[in-house]
Symmetry: C2
């Protein structure tokens, strides 16, 4: 097919996979493991530039995952990398932070509507974990309410109870509700005891793996806010996945719903490791009392990178650019699927799209289509939302669509039209 | 005094402190906060080079903290920084790891005697937390035993129960013993139930804050190993603080005691954020089943930096160099204190010294002496062990000792001789 580039051998990737199997459990772990994907995915990547990545065999891909979020301005952004390298050359991690920590805290407090203070860490998990500890220290309450199947990091209270190594005691203070179902939140409050709820934790929209993304119902967001106010619990917005990419002010600001605490990470520093807990004034004292520390948390390079990332995002109107490109992609995918006679759902904010197939309970079509995309030179995920960057311009999206079209043809050939 | 350099104004540091107070809880948090130190410490640092750091006002310090461990080869090591910058320019965090992840896992599995596999993360806390979850997944047991007052990161089960925001339920599966007291371990096993102990977690030596460091009793280490074998628990060595700096093979290898799992972080990559969980073959399957993932965990630059750091450490016989410099420092400090008529204890492995004063229950002398050291141009900690790097050569130690001598004189003038 003319749109399919000639693909080189995959011998180098296979070689590293064999070596990895000996010294890494299952050869790889976590969300970057491709062992549950179609075989067409590379496990080991060699480089990235803008909206593209190359694997160790030299295969090129248009990257619709952006490292699952961290890459906001495109891979290997020269300006961000130069600032980070200069900070490292100065001494990155010292016995105290550098001035850029104050500047970044000031910038986030200025931009994020609910925030009066900031703390920095490394993982999204650090930020959600610190949010809950802060909420408990503030109120003296113990319980945490979260939506069933939401992902809030690998902190034990937020992992599914059946996850290996997680104990019943880890969940002693966790109560589940259904996203966008306010009555289920009230029921969870009742189970927890209204006087013992420390925090209600929410993602800005429903972006659970395996299902269509779902916007938050504004009435739900307002209702959760009202419940928190009524019972003296902290409303914690887990903006690790959406923050900055959807709205610099925080992903619920457009709804007019302000959390008490918000967790940020992924895209803050265009790939450099950084997380932030932002909070409103009443929670400052509690945040100052908890034990919160990590060896690399106050490193300067990621903070300098974040200052540059946010400045460039704003100067280039990057969010509008990502929205436009995402809409172009979403509309293109819907049209292609229809043209091939395939029933799909394309969901999510344009900057974070996801495509799933109708009547695909075992995700066989998703796995086949995503594998075909990889084969044709588009890196996306079968069941987890994707991420666009500001490097994804209209021409790149059109090129990606030419490749996804070939992948739809493969799926139609293999499964037939719907 | 002739050894005291002229110190510039501190206006810039004070300015950043004032700004920080507005946007960061207490103006700073965690182990890099200086608010409980003497006023002579700067909070904000501008740069580091080799064994020295400079604050934002241009004050120079010989650095005996090495960022509390991460700096192993000296600040801003040009070769390590060049490798990291080159990796970032290639694209640091991609949709999959780069080859350096396999190379680093192979190197650690080769060097660390007990290790058959490796997983990487960002914080020391990640590594200790993953170790316990892996141990639980392996045995199906729930309880974790740790020494009272040991620090194993900010994971809730390991923090003191009185730490704000920590609940009684967080400690439901934690049992405490006394370091170097095997009978207390047996008692903790009995309280936990011998068939329900998942892990016994130990630091390689006792390096708790506020007290003299204490070597591990080899009989204690062997005894804990035997208990773990008897009850089917994992022996977890928390080598976050000592690993690499004390022994590339793991800090208990010289004793002939091999843990099942070990947690590494701090010094692995000379300041670049990295942590590692290393494990023995029988724990590989469990490690492969747990939920273990983080947005920046498989980033290439810290792994490339770690490969370079370990190579340089070995090529330069860096551990022997740090030991010799540490002995020179420890002997010099003991002689100086005696000459000033001050009773002190200098404890710890030479690479990780600590000085405390006798008869100093409120640490008034420690605070005064450490403040005087800061004033005279040596950055060390009043009550937490220090860290040396391979950049601390004999000449640097002698220069540091000239400055600490002035600090002892200040303490003798203020408190009198013992």
């Amino acid at each position: 097919m003319s749109t399919v580039p000639v693909r080189p051998s995959r011998a180098i990737d296979r070689g590293y996979r064999e070596r990895a199997l000996k010294v890494i459990p299952n050869g790889m772990y976590g969300h970057l493991s491709t062992r549950r994907f179609a075989d067409d995915y590379p496990q080991f990547l060699a480089r990235g530039e803008g909206a593209r990545v190359w694997d160790v065999d030299g295969r090129e891909f248009i990257d619709l995952m952006c490292t699952f979020g961290p890459i906001l301005l495109g891979h290997a952004h020269p300006e961000v990398d130069a600032v980070a390298a200069a900070t490292s050359a100065r001494g990155d991690v010292l016995n105290g932070p550098g001035p850029e920590m104050v500047e970044l805290a000031e910038l986030l407090v200025d931009r994020v509507a609910h925030a009066d203070w900031a703390m920095f860490a490394k993982n999204g998990t650090d930020a959600t974990a610190l949010a809950v500890v802060t909420a408990r220290a503030h109120s003296g309450h113990r319980k945490v309410l979260m939506a069933r199947r939401s992902y809030h990091g690998i902190v034990a209270w937020a992992l599914p109870e059946q996850s290996p190594g997680i104990t019943a005691e880890d969940h002693a203070n966790t109560e589940l509700f259904e996203y966008n179902d306010l009555a289920s939140v009230e029921a969870a409050v009742a189970r927890a005891g209204a006087d013992d709820v420390a925090a209600i934790v929410c993602t800005p929209h429903r972006h659970d793996v395996f299902v269509d993304q779902e916007p938050v119902d504004p009435a739900f967001a307002r209702g959760v806010r009202a419940i928190c106010d009524r019972i003296g619990a902290a409303l914690v917005l887990d903006d690790v996945r959406g923050g900055l990419r959807l709205d610099v002010r925080g992903s619920w600001e457009a709804l007019g719903v302000r959390p008490d605490l918000s967790a940020w990470s992924k895209s803050l520093a265009n790939g450099y490791p950084l997380a932030a807990l932002l909070g409103a004034e009443p929670w400052r004292d509690a945040a100052g009392r908890i034990t919160a520390t990590g060896s690399f948390w106050l490193a300067g390079a990621p903070m300098a990178a974040a200052l540059t990332t946010i400045r460039i995002l704003e100067e280039t109107d990057g969010i509008a650019l990502m929205r436009a490109s995402g809409q172009r992609l979403q509309e293109g995918l819907r049209a292609q699927a229809a043209a091939h006679g395939l029933a799909v759902s394309v969901s999510g904010p344009p900057q974070m799209p996801l495509l799933l197939f109708a009547d695909d309970p075992e995700f066989a079509k998703s796995l086949a289509w995503s594998g075909a995309c990889a084969r044709h030179g588009v890196y996306l995920h079968p069941v987890h939302n994707w991420f666009l960057s500001t490097a994804h311009d209209a021409a790149t999206i059109d090129e990606a669509l030419a490749r996804t079209d070939a992948a739809f043809a493969d799926v139609r050939d293999a499964f037939g039209a719907d």
